[in-house]
């Protein structure tokens, strides 16, 4: 009996492995839902709201891809992952897309065998301290106790920063943002370090956000973006161009409000027409419907709308566009042409 259960489990495992080997886009279509890896909860980027609905900037990417592939932005199974579990989850096929403010690095791209499909947020690592400590620069942190999420690039940057400046610190490794928050607020660590956007998002949830300051030093480059497994370029293209479509939509002034209208009939702008599928065969080239980008934009709006709604200056998180503005506005967002 026991053996037969074991054999059964093996068969299932074998089948699952076989399925994972097939094209991801077919798996997603067959399952009718997209398995999307997100954080365990970082307000503004990915966190469930009061009704248990996931929302946030990274969630918006998941929903856009689901809308483009399946036509339904709600056909997403959100899989919360920690800094430690995210790569295993993606490599093993548990999730099809990882949109979890993950830094694009050489070794993750090349050695861990993932494909980063773009950058949806240009970030850098910062430090947050209580104002009562009277610290104005990260270089004054000699001997401080630093809370840090384990299994992230921030851990290595931190070690490098303190070594280069020849000052000492005591790392307190923690698993999730929530634990870090608890320890930081109780004073068990003097400093909390993570991506500056994450710090802003975390501070927004504090009872008295004004009592805490983010130090001016940004000690690293953290281009955060969604990623997929190596070796399935069709799926990688879909994720990449869905993200590009959101950014291009902002550039061309296509919003969730006017996308229906613009897609109803060809406009004067051929670039918009190709993007929205009223001209050319771009959707078919991706293996998707002609109006894939329309659905993706309708899901949560274009890049600018997603940004303003989730993490923009009018939200509690209050991030300025900064580097994440379009290249036309002095930012770094520049997408290749849709043609």
């Amino acid at each position: 009996m026991k053996k037969s259960v074991f054999l059964g489990a093996l068969t299932v495992a074998g089948l699952a492995a076989g399925v994972a080997g097939a094209a991801t886009v077919d798996d997603v279509k067959a399952a009718g839902k997209l398995n999307c890896g997100v954080t365990t909860g970082l307000v503004g980027f990915a966190a469930p709201d009061a009704n248990g609905e996931w929302e946030g900037f990274d969630v918006g990417v998941c929903r856009a891809v689901a809308a483009a592939v399946l036509g339904d932005p709600t056909a997403v199974e959100f899989v919360p992952t920690t800094g430690k579990t995210r790569f295993t989850a993606l490599a093993s096929g548990e999730i099809d897309l990882l949109a979890r403010n993950t830094t694009w690095t050489f070794s993750r791209d090349v050695d861990l065998k993932f494909t980063f499909v773009g950058v949806n947020y240009y970030d850098g690592q910062g430090f947050m301290v209580p104002k009562e400590l009277g610290v104005s620069s990260a270089k004054e942190l000699d001997g401080a106790t630093v809370c840090i999420q384990t299994g992230t690039t921030t851990e290595l940057n931190l070690a490098d920063f303190f070594r280069v400046n020849n000052i000492s610190y005591e790392p307190v490794p923690i698993e999730t943002n929530a634990e870090a928050q608890q320890q930081f607020l109780a004073g068990a660590c003097d400093v909390y370090t993570t991506d500056a956007s994450g710090l802003a998002a975390t501070r927004a949830t504090f009872e008295n956000p004004g009592d805490y300051a983010v130090l001016p030093e940004i000690i690293s480059k953290e281009p955060l973006g969604p990623l997929v497994r190596h070796g399935d370029d069709e799926w990688g293209d879909i994720a990449r161009w869905t993200l590009n479509a959101l950014i291009a939509a902002e550039e061309y002034g296509v919003t969730s409000a006017n996308v229906e209208e613009l897609a109803a009939a060809p406009t004067d702008n051929p670039e918009i027409n190709r993007l929205l599928g009223t001209e050319g065969e771009l959707g078919a080239m991706l293996g998707l419907e002609a109006d894939w980008a329309v659905k993706a934009i309708k899901a949560g709006g274009n890049y600018g709308e997603l940004f303003e709604k989730n993490i923009g200056e009018n939200t509690p998180i209050g991030l300025a566009r900064g580097l994440n503005a379009l290249y036309t506005d002095g930012g770094l967002l520049y997408v290749p042409p849709f043609r």
């Binding site: 993750r108 065998k113 384990t150 070690a159 790392p171 307190v172 109780a186 190596h230």
Partner: protein, 418 residues
């Protein structure tokens, strides 16, 4: 004269493998063995092939590359430029530290609680029952997290010690600081220390500590010899010479002398900058993990101890009482030594459980082998299979060593039958 003739040798037929009971069991065992090996082979082959397809060959070379991350609790020298292998070793030592501390504490608490649970005092017995049932029936992870949360939330942070009228002060004549980052206690220092002994150039062992331990072992050996001699005198004359003062002197004096020679003094913790400096820092993660693991496992050990004591027939207690022994001596001299035979085998599995449960350390940010090798190293190098296999091997070896040692102890305590 009789001639014995062998019965005609039966020629072996293939069908006998199934129909002859002499061979049948072998046949099935061999078939089962082949099936299992095939399965294992298929699994291994599948894994290797899949990894190959992913372009990730099994490779342990990452162990020799710089780790790049820092670890807060280090029993040996380590910085972020050391290798992943050394980081794993630092983690391993942390695992062993909490396992040893936990096993010792759990045994002490467990034995006391187990005995008290059988107490005739209604209140004491019920209190112990409540303790056992509470700890036994809630997952240990909850206890670990709870212990950490209590430490973090209830103790003052170092900045509360600052100012002219601080909210918190150091305890025990200003020598110990309880903070929500851990407990800072005075550390032993030697102004004329004799340095470290380098082992394979990998880490140093304090020669001061070695010297103290050697002297202590020597002293105890001499004290024991004095005790034996007293026993012999008692056997021969019936009068036992008073030896305790000599024994105490033999144990205490040489160590004190050695400590003075080494220039022993205490280094006290003091608030400097963000944290207390000086002294030994016992981090809250260690304390929480140690406390939770000990209390949790002690609940199980208490039940083992209770079972062991109940296994000894009541006649033993009554006989001892009839000899005029008082109840605590009955327990120490008659009941517990016999109960040990029942207690030790399940105790081994409790030690193993505690050691394995210590892998939950990451819940409170304690950097054990799971946190370093199978946590950060896995994450930074992406070598899931290699690190997890290594980690499993480490736990297997630790567990086998614990079982081995405890089995030897069990052999010695077993009822010797003649």
């Amino acid at each position: 004269m009789t001639t014995l003739t062998d019965p005609p040798a039966e020629s072996f037929k293939l069908s006998m493998l199934v129909y002859d009971t002499r061979y049948r069991s072998y046949t099935f065992q061999i078939i089962a063995l082949i099936a299992v090996l095939t399965l294992l082979g298929w699994l291994t082959n599948n894994t290797v092939q899949n990894l190959h397809d992913l372009g990730k060959e099994v490779d342990f070379g990452f162990l020799n590359t710089p780790a790049g991350y820092d670890i807060n609790q280090r029993l040996i020298e380590y910085d972020n430029q050391d290798t992943h292998l050394r980081a794993a070793f630092v983690g391993l030592l942390n695992t062993l530290l909490v396992a040893v501390l936990g096993c010792v504490t759990a045994t002490i608490i467990g034995v006391i609680v187990g005995v008290l649970r059988l107490s005739s005092n209604w209140l004491v017995a019920r209190l112990m029952t409540v303790y056992v049932e509470m700890f036994r029936n809630v997952p240990v992870l909850m206890w670990i997290v709870l212990a950490m949360a209590i430490l973090i939330e209830s103790l003052p942070s170092p900045r509360d010690f600052r100012g002219d009228t601080p909210e918190a002060t150091m305890k025990l004549f200003d020598t110990v600081a309880f903070t929500n980052r851990g407990v800072y206690v005075p550390e032993p220092l030697f102004s004329r220390g004799i340095g470290d002994l380098s082992v394979f150039g990998a880490f140093g062992i304090s020669l001061d500590l070695v010297a103290i331990i050697v002297v202590l072992i020597g002293s105890f050996w001499v004290a024991k010899r004095i005790g034996r001699k007293a026993d012999a005198t008692q056997e021969a004359t019936g009068v036992r010479p008073r030896t305790w003062h000599v024994q105490t002197a033999v144990i205490v004096l040489p160590v004190v002398l050695l400590l003075i020679l080494l220039g022993f003094h205490l280094g006290y913790p003091a608030l400097k900058g963000f944290n207390f400096q000086g002294g030994t820092h016992m981090r809250n993660s260690l304390i929480a993990l140690w406390l939770a693991l000990s209390l949790y496992t002690a609940a199980f050990i208490a039940e083992n101890v209770r079972a062991g004591i109940l296994a000894i027939s009541k006649g033993q207690t009554e006989a001892a009482a009839a000899l005029g022994l008082r109840s605590n001596r009955i327990m120490n001299l008659v009941i517990l030594p016999q109960a040990l035979r029942v207690i030790i085998p399940p105790l081994i599995s409790q030690y193993l459980n505690l050691t394995k449960n210590s892998s939950l350390a990451i819940a409170v940010g304690y950097m054990d082998i799971t946190g370093t090798l199978m946590g950060i190293t896995l994450n930074q190098t992406g070598r899931e299979l290699e690190t997890v296999l290594l980690g499993m091997l480490v736990y297997l070896v630790i567990s086998l060593i614990i079982s081995g040692v405890m089995n030897v102890y069990n052999e010695r305590k077993k009822l010797v039958e003649r």
